[in-house]
């Protein structure tokens, strides 16, 4: 999909450039943007390293498991179809907590494991279960404790208080997550399995 968007942006850009007589601006923007991309990335390095380093400490000290144990009771409500001691629940919790801490590298394998476990208790192997839908909705609406790349970007662009945005991001993600849970719960009630 990104292939189409990329070509689309460029082609429409060049077409508008011709119509608006701005081809020289367009050419300059192309070169400048390529340069900017690299300078931006270098500007992000320090803050990114700081957070990935800190989160590695969280990972190594078992914080994923500690938080996982704390949120476990909520899972019964979110995933009523999964048997209480099924390994799927463990994998789901670990994935969501890893996402929460921004540990992308750890989160994806855990998420794939969760899907595999969920598939093992699925009767119709081609159709998603309610638990799968709920898991992926939570996953796409993911709340992140420290959105490191955004704070890094704000820092390198000279924000007075780069971390200030965290509160707004938390509020918006909590709203999105609550909406996701409500939507998944309600749709699961009306959506028949064969739809």
């Amino acid at each position: 999909m990104l292939n189409y968007i990329w070509i689309g942006l460029l082609m429409i850009g060049f077409a508008f450039g011709i119509v608006n007589g701005r081809l020289d601006d367009v050419t300059k923007a192309a070169m400048d943007s390529a340069q900017t991309a690299v300078t931006v990335c270098i500007g992000l390095l320090g803050v990114m390293c700081l957070w990935t380093g800190l989160m590695k400490i969280a990972e190594k000290s078992g914080l994923i498991r500690i938080i996982g144990r704390a949120v476990r009771p909520v899972l019964g409500f979110l995933f009523p179809e999964i048997p209480k001691d099924h390994p799927a629940l463990g994998a789901i919790v670990m994935n969501l907590v890893a996402n929460f801490l921004g540990l992308g590298n750890a989160a994806t394998p855990l998420g794939l494991k969760a899907m595999k476990e969920l598939q093992s208790i699925n009767k119709d192997k081609k159709t998603a279960t309610n638990a799968m839908c709920m898991f992926l909705v939570l996953n796409t609406a993911a709340i992140q404790l420290v959105p490191a790349n955004i704070i890094a970007l704000r820092t390198s662009e000279g924000s007075k208080k780069p971390a200030e945005i965290i509160i707004c991001i938390w509020i918006a993600s909590v709203c999105a997550t609550i909406m996701g849970i409500i939507a998944a719960k309600m749709l699961s009630a009306v959506w028949k399995k064969d739809n």
Binding site: I5, W6, G53, K126, M132, T140, R154, I166, C175, M179
Partner: protein, 176 residues
């Protein structure tokens, strides 16, 4: 909202103290692990350079040609309704589709308007409060061969729309 903005002053130190506190309790060699983890940060950044070059060039061309202004004008009725800064509207469309393309777009907005501008803050909040939907669903469902995803996409998009609206609202609420 002075109180909430004050709260954000404590957020980062609190995260540090909790993580380091747990590390002490669990006898983790915090500094060694930190250095090891910081290397991951370099990898992450180095890996995004090629895609960011491609995408920032595309966004830059789209903007310099005047096409962006036309798109923003087109979306104006919706943004006015939500009180959203009009320049941010294309981001709301791009966010569920591609993480790297949206990051390029947020970079462009923050470079043009500044990180502490209204548009810059709303863009950053939107970027941070959702994930890419289509890619995630494709990878996870694809991995186990699910063909019928039922209501997953609808629920995920509903959550995404709320996060866009809530981003605008949260920035107005916190920064007044």
């Amino acid at each position: 909202m002075g109180l909430i903005r004050h709260l954000s002053d404590y957020a980062v130190p609190a995260i540090f103290v909790v993580i380091l506190g747990v590390a002490v309790l669990k006898k983790v060699k915090a500094y060694d692990v930190f250095v090891e983890g910081a290397k991951d940060g370099i990898d992450t950044i180095i890996k995004i350079i090629p895609s960011l070059v491609g995408l920032l060039v595309a966004v830059g061309v789209f903007k310099a040609s005047g096409a962006m202004d036309s798109l923003i004008l087109l979306l104006r009725p919706v943004t006015d309704l939500l009180g959203m800064p009009p320049q941010v509207a294309p981001l709301a469309l791009l966010r569920p589709i591609s993480g790297s393309a949206s990051f390029a777009f947020v970079t462009e907005i923050i470079k043009s308007f500044g990180p502490d501008s209204y548009a810059g803050r709303v863009a950053a909040t939107m970027m941070g409060s959702t994930e890419t939907i289509f890619y995630t669903l494709a990878v996870y469902y694809g991995s186990v061969g699910i063909k019928n995803i039922r209501y997953t996409l609808i629920a995920a998009i509903m959550a995404d729309i709320i996060s866009v609206i809530a981003s605008v609202w949260a920035c107005q609420f916190v920064f007044g």
